[in-house]
Symmetry: C2
Subunit: 210 residues, 2 copies
Amino acid sequence: MPREHKDPEEKIRERNIRLIIKAGIEIFSRKGYDGTRIAEIAEASGLPKANVYYYFSSKEQIYTAIIEHLLEGWDNALKYITADREPADAFRLYIRAKLDYTRKNIAESRLFASEIIQGARFLKKKDRQHIRDVTDKHVAVVEGWIAEGKILPVDPRHLFIMLWASTQFYADFEPIAADGLKKSRLKVEDYEMAAKTIAETVLRGVLPHA
Amino acid sequence: MPREHKDPEEKIRERNIRLIIKAGIEIFSRKGYDGTRIAEIAEASGLPKANVYYYFSSKEQIYTAIIEHLLEGWDNALKYITADREPADAFRLYIRAKLDYTRKNIAESRLFASEIIQGARFLKKKDRQHIRDVTDKHVAVVEGWIAEGKILPVDPRHLFIMLWASTQFYADFEPIAADGLKKSRLKVEDYEMAAKTIAETVLRGVLPHA
DNA sequence: TAGTAAGTTGACACTTTGGTCAGGTTTTGT
DNA sequence: ACAAAACCTGACCAAAGTGTCAACTTACTA
């Protein structure tokens, strides 16, 4: 067990932890929790295994640190659904931001997906609660729009699941998405086309008249 | 290595293989490939580990047998997109069938998702080709509908990804879907509501006038 | 610049795991 | 009933995995 350190802002410490987290994201995302070996994280981060254990007392601690870390980044893409925007703009921004974020953070996305598929074993209660709170807020906004007649009456929760699922898919299931698009790998243009298709379809699906 | 057997329809063999596959689906889906231990599959299937190895020569062989097995079942839900149907009916049937299949085969769905997230390491070339072929066929049908003016010009490939992603999500990411819906677990009604929302939204999104 | 805190690491202990095997029992065909 | 084929399994490896530790080096501080 590593000793308690005093914790001013240290240089070496920060750098090494960053390296470990970065390597961890990459490897956990490809191998899942159980499939990942600390030795591999050590190698990928350029540190000897024992040094990894100097900073983290267990595999689980590395993993949960990563989960914590990626949940922070998540929130940013989800801030576009606000009542003062027009629904069309809000959804378009949301879809683009989400696709952009997942494209630039594919490993994190997959790691999170892996964690959920395997039953959210290490996702803390407070983190799940946070996700629920954010969802509730967005749902309330959509319900407001429905009440104002700005969008058609559609179940907001299922609607968000649709958006989340559709945007997430390109990163999490890239091999299948690429096969479906007849590409060998996805490029930026594919993500742009995805944003366009999802936005157009969903907007026509929820906006009145049109 | 197990010897070659003559292979008439055997009773014991079939039963044991079925038990192993069944247990394997359950455990591989929860733990991923690397996280699964043969001993656990053995225990869950009620057979001693050595007996499992009597029927399968390696962990990988069990795993690929399962993948093969679930891809067969997959095709059935995907047969509803045919040119002689009206688009609205075809999409509705497709969405319902897909959600139904995933709901009744959650473990398989997750296993497949796990496999893809981890880079489709064991998905054979021919299986990927098969998926591509089926997609191509469906894409052609949708393109036909577009040419006839029966649906709006939308990228068929991204459209199918949207549908696949949305339907898949409820099974693969059940904890998150449940959180999003403010339920502790998903029930049949939730899947029905999902089908309704997805179908309504997408249909309004791709059908003309409406 | 001396002393202490922080960081580093090879080697090791212990456990788990995939896979093997030799010899046993049951089933099947004749 | 007999032999052959199919089936079963406890005991056993070698490899790989997690986590530990004592001794060493480097970095900071007064």
